[in-house]
Structures are given as structure tokens and as C-alpha cells.
Symmetry: none
Subunit: 237 residues, 2 copies
């Protein structure tokens, strides 16, 4: 992953729409030029995080970063149209752990899904950790970022997709529901499930019935179980 | 001393009366799920202390503790007999990543497996990282360590178990093979698959057919796909 530091390089990268995963600003740093970077980042939908100065020192490899460091994206994101044309689209509603994001991309590709959609904010972007966990799948499977997941789901519905949300409170078992084509599978963030608005956009809420009362599943494992059930039926039918 | 962190693992440890020394809550943290943990701790007569977030970061080794850390005793491994009596036993042949081990334990419990067997050497043991990734399942699912996986498989065969090894070179598709009871599912280490000797001890070598030539699966995701196919058939039959 490329790392830029200093006010001028980071501002230039933002102005020229260089693909950036996030901008880190040192806690307590300020001034009009830093504020301008924050504004540029927000306009470009690049995540801004405030971190201790020591974290920036470590990333930049020097304390001479003027309070700002930018992390380049490990991949170019695909266009929304490319992803939406697929028979199976996986939409992630706030997956934050990069290992999970990478494992889901890897699993989606192995199951024959055609694309993954992730939100630009409050979610992991495609970093080197994600690329490593994806084990090469990022080279083949288009991944796109959208500002508004709800609007994306509305667009997908209009283009004929059926939206299946995986949720602990789902009413249909994942292995009994019929999957209409083209299919969208929406997965929530770790330990939080789907956002209320996202849930309302789903045509069907499915659940994975588990043994034991406390049992729950890691989101990437849950993705694998549903995606391979979809694949099993598709190959059979 | 074992350290648990995160809302789900700490709540589960309290609910299952895992011996805990104290529960630390980050100053300023709140919400209904944290309040539930505080109530559970008070009912179980476990001390609750409010500490600066930085103290929790340090103990948990990560800032991703959701505002709660519990200090307790290390996991006791179960006896081999207890594990071997189960209808489905998961045997891990050299899983090294603690996140994967934890996710597999969590998944095995959710699928209704009765125990997990791990080797003592060249494999992850049950550490705090594993306990956290297992999200409470360690409180319920017996996990045992054996010196020699091959000898363990011979013992299981003699007691009537059928041994299914998951392997990329498997000859049977996981969703077409018949699973005889009691069942043993053997999974290999990350990127290495089953050891040659272990493969020879398997009655059946199954594979998960994937889309795309380069596609492969994370071992915990693969475990979920096979275990939930076994569960789906078991519930249906």
C-alpha cells in the first residue's frame, strides 16, 4: 500500500483523485491547510480519521509528516455498472474488520458471485490486509464503493434484482428460501447485523438456523454458508 | 490470566458462569448491551470497575474491545473421551492462525458439532485471541489437544467413526457424499491442506467445488460450508 505524508502531497493526491483508502490526521493538529485537506477528503468521500501523532510517525516512517498521512487504496475500485450486471452481487453493510472483508471477497469469488459492493464510510476499505486475506480474488472480482448503500439497493431493485438480507431476525431459513435471479445478498457488520434502513430495503430476510442458544457465526463464515447454498442450488437446477 | 474482550465474549462468559476475576468497563462507554453486562456481572458477584479506555486498550492488546474487558482463568482442555463421544467431531490438522481456530470453534458449535480436536504441536493452541474469535463457543464446546493426530484418527475409526477429510484433491463433492454417523471432519492447515499421513487415515476425501480456476477458501469458511451442509442434511433427514 502506498503511503503519502505531508500537507502538499496529500492535498495534491486528493485534488487529482488518486485512489485513497483513508486520510489520517494527527490528534490536536490544526490550521487552515489541514482543514482544507479534511474538506477535500470529505468531498471525495475518502474516510478521515484522527489518530495519535505516534501512529502517524510510524506509518510515515518519520515525524516530518505535518500532521497528515494518506493511505493509498490497494486496488482500483470497479464501476457500479460492472458489479450490478452480475447474477449474484454481495453487498456489505458495514463490515469493519479487514480480514473479514478479504475473506468475504475470496469466498464470493469462489462461489461464483460477480461483484462486491461496500460502503465508503464506517467500513473497511480495500487495503493490503484485505488484499492478502482475499488471496488473489481481488484480481478477478470487481469490488465497488458506494456513498449510500440504501440508494444502491433501490437502484438494484429497479433493475430487477431480488434483495436477500442475512439477519438473525430473518423469517426464512437460508436453505429453504428460493433465490430469484439476479440475486443480491446483503450482509451486516460484525456483531451488529443490518442497519434498520437497509433491512427495510430487503425483499426477504433470511437466517441461518444454528445449534445452541448462544451460537452465532463470523460474518465471513456466514457469507460462505449462504453463498455456497446458492451455488449448490444453481449447479443442481 | 486469560483476558476476554468485546461485548459478546464477555456477556457469554458471564452467562455461562465462567470463573472471572473482574470486568473492566471503559469510562464514558455506555449503551444497553454494556449495561446488560454490568447487570450480569453484579448478579454473578463479579467486580465491575470503570477504567480509562487506554487501560482497556492495553489489556486487550487492541482498541477493538467495545468498551469492555474481562479478566479470568485460562480455558481447560476437555478429555478425549468427552469429545470422541460426539456425533460430529472436528479434527484440525495444523491450523496455525488463532483467528481461524477461534472462528472454527465458533462455527463447529453453531453447526451442532460435539467437539474439536487440535494437535499439541505446530498448531495454534487456545489463547485469548482464539477465545475472542470463538465468541463464547469455548464455554460450551469441548476442545481437546492430542499429541498424535494420526493415532487419534485410528482410535476414532475403531470406535465406529467415519473419517471425512476436506482436501482440494478430494474425489467426492461435499454436497453429494453421504455422511455416516458418527462423523469426523478433518481440516488441514492454512494453504497446506492435509498431511500425507493424515490423508491416508481418511475414509473419504471430500472437496468443495469452486468457481474460477484460482479460487480457494479460507479454512474457517470451508469448515462452515461443510459443517452446515452436514447439519442441513441431518435436520432434513
Amino acid at each position: 500500500m502506498s503511503i503519502l505524508s505531508g500537507i502538499h502531497p496529500v492535498a495534491e493526491a486528493l485534488r487529482s483523485h488518486h485512489p485513497l483508502d483513508r486520510v489520517l490526521v494527527a490528534q490536536g493538529a490544526g490550521g487552515p491547510r489541514l482543514q482544507e485537506i479534511i474538506d477535500l477528503a470529505r468531498r471525495a468521500a475518502v474516510t478521515v480519521r484522527f489518530e495519535p501523532r505516534a501512529a502517524l510517525d510510524r506509518l510515515a516512517g518519520t515525524p516530518a509528516h505535518q500532521g497528515v498521512v494518506a493511505l493509498g487504496a490497494a486496488t482500483k475500485y470497479a464501476g457500479v455498472e460492472e458489479v450490478a450486471a452480475a447474477e449474484m452481487v454481495v453487498v456489505l453493510d458495514g463490515v469493519e474488520d479487514p480480514h473479514n472483508l478479504g475473506a468475504i471477497i475470496r469466498t464470493a469469488y469462489a462461489a461464483g458471485a460477480g461483484g462486491v459492493i461496500i460502503p465508503e464510510r464506517r467500513a473497511a476499505g480495500v487495503t493490503d490486509v484485505v488484499a492478502k486475506a482475499a488471496a488473489g480474488a481481488l484480481e478477478h472480482l470487481p469490488v465497488t464503493r458506494v456513498v449510500n448503500v440504501n440508494r444502491m439497493l433501490e437502484d438494484l431493485k429497479r433493475s430487477g434484482h431480488w434483495i436477500y438480507g442475512l439477519d438473525e431476525r430473518g423469517t426464512e431459513d437460508y436453505d429453504r428460501v428460493e433465490y430469484s435471479t439476479p440475486t443480491v445478498l446483503v450482509l451486516g457488520g460484525e456483531g451488529k447485523g443490518l442497519h434498520e434502513q437497509v433491512r427495510k430495503h430487503c425483499d426477504v430476510l433470511v437466517r441461518i438456523p444454528v445449534a445452541g442458544k448462544i451460537a452465532s457465526l463470523n460474518v465471513s463464515v456466514a457469507a460462505g454458508i449462504v453463498l455456497f447454498e446458492w451455488r449448490r442450488r444453481r449447479l443442481k437446477g
